[in-house]
Amino acid sequence: MFEKILIANRGEIAVRIMRACQEMDISTIAVYSEADRKSLHVQVADEAWLIGPPPAVESYLDMEKIIEVAHRSGAEAIHPGYGFLAENAAFAKLCEKEKIIFIGPNSKALDLVGDKVRSRLTMEKAGVPIIPGMKTVHKRLSDYDAEARKIGYPLMVKASAGGGGKGMRIVWKPKDLRPSLESGRREAKSAFGDESVYLEKYIEEPRHVEFQVLADNYGNVVHLFERECSIQRRYQKIVEETPSQALNPEQRKKMGDMAKKVIQVSGYNNAGTVEFLLDKDKEFYFLEVNARLQVEHPVTELTSGVDLVHQQLMIAAGEKLSFKQEDIQPRGHSIECRIYAEDPLHNFLPSSGKVLFLKEPQGPGVRHDSGIYSGCDVPIYYDPILAKLIVWAEERDLACQRMVNALDDYVILGIKTTIDFLKEVIRHPQFRAGNTTTDFINKYFGQWKGKEKTEEDMKVALMASAFTDLERTVPTAAGFVEQKNVFSPWLSLGKWRIGGK
């Protein structure tokens, strides 16, 4: 096993990986940009190396710089997390050349599955069902017109290097094709450094069902069952769960076998996720392989009992999988909610700033994977994910209830987050009924105006506000103002004066 690894990421996922390393007695090296000096991952790591200015291209995406730190710090391997360099075949290749182990698939497999167009072709040849669409990428925008006509509207613009919904656009009418291609290219370029986009038939009201797969370096492949990730905004998942309500055991087996086939055909190793779309008639289509640890990996961990980061590290270190397919017997139900720094009332606009106060949720079956703390800054430069809240329970209804309670017990003050919104999503009767499709948010929350506040709660808020002002004028009454050496917002109410006449 490794003694020291570098984690080329930030935020909650870097912290998650470091925790696994600590459990396995592996030293951790954090890298950070100037914007992240005070970020949680820097505090959790054994060593922290500054790699550049805030923009990702000059820090977390700077391959040479990261390799240099790996050499100088004596790291044997690099874990890329998700995003940034995670699915960058050039980086995996560079690691191979520099004799540093890349904790992820080999560069050849990464090259193949990272190229959505080429992998579609490969899968089609191997008998894996794919969505009808383009099988090559064009340079000139005008060449897309004919392809669009051939496929038929509505259709999707997708980034060839894609993932996370970046560069993805749905096009309903021919006149919208050009602007969608342009902005899709721009976003793809900014997110992946590659502007190639292609067109695909748009499947209406689909479910997003993916299979977690582990493959060691000796050809052993096991899947750890599915996750349903249909609740999305901007083609990006915000709620994930397992098991999916849409699959029966027979279909689950069929798709699981197909997922393993996809991995085998690609010559893939380490942890990966095979994504499928499931249409109204429960026909499924191969979407893509996510060649990394997924944001939503914890739901699989809670139901399968397998720690995916441990497995990634063991596979990368050359160990064989210690279990077989029949050993994996999932138990119970798990749901994850992604906590983003976004304003659900304003089209999910990112909301950077300072987390003034954080109260983490607790309770049986509650897991909180977080990259934040009270007082931390949320910079504008990176993905707005703050944390993930994951629950497990014996069955789905209880898991939903547990999630709602945990969200109620979760307080982030100072920046806008998706917490309130997620609560309403989980409470929604259609979610409770398992009627989850990728247009769920548009359909049921398109006109969402926020949660109604009761008179009673407002009264308590006003009372508390008056109390904080009032007690400042009577400092001895509550006895808390005297502790001058302790930081407390109660002491810094200076700007507040008593209202009234």
């Binding site: 901007r234 990112p350 003034l356 003050l413 949660k451 508390a464 004028t473 109410l493």
Partner: protein, 168 residues
């Protein structure tokens, strides 16, 4: 003691008096007795009519944040904000003409030129933050009076991007 607070820009007049260790809260003609205690630097416990509330609290500059029963309340005291509201209609229509950055980010593209006529909801500019593109749309039918930024600029939230004017 009387207080006036703004919650979501709506004014609320209340009073809170201390009496024999309890607090009397009055709003309009209604009064309630409450038992209020500080639990820790960010937590207050309120018991009102046997109902127990755990209130989380913090503050930043002129805003106080309270979290009660799953809802966040941002409370300010009346000041400049209210005055601008009192100016009413004129202020808001003026706001509509000045297109501001909705969040801190980077200007990716300006889609219009000065003097150019624009339709309502036409995309004027694209601002990127946290790896996401946001289209900045026109709030009115009119023309572009002035452009304050160019592609590549980093902008703060509320930074004026483009000024629009109604057609004469």
């Amino acid at each position: 003691m009387e207080f006036e607070f703004l919650v979501d820009d709506k004014p609320h007049k209340i009073s809170l008096e201390k009496k024999e260790g309890k607090y009397i809260f009055t709003q309009g003609d209604n009064s309630f007795e409450a038992d209020i205690h500080v639990i820790s630097p960010h937590v207050i416990s309120v018991i009102m009519g046997e109902q127990s509330y755990k209130v989380y609290f913090t503050q930043d500059k002129d805003k106080k944040y309270f979290y009660v029963a799953g809802n966040e309340y941002i409370i300010r005291e009346p000041g400049e904000r209210e005055e601008s509201l009192e100016r009413g209609e004129e202020g808001t229509s003026q706001d509509k003409l000045m297109i501001k950055a909705p969040m801190p980010g980077k200007v990716i593209k300006i889609n219009v030129k000065e003097e150019e006529k624009v339709r309502k909801n036409q995309t004027l500019a694209i601002v990127e933050a946290m790896k996401m593109e946001n289209e900045i749309k026109s709030s009115i039918e009119g023309y572009v009076k002035k452009i304050f930024v160019s592609a590549g600029d980093l902008v703060d939230s509320e930074k004026p991007l483009i000024e629009l004017a109604h057609n004469e």
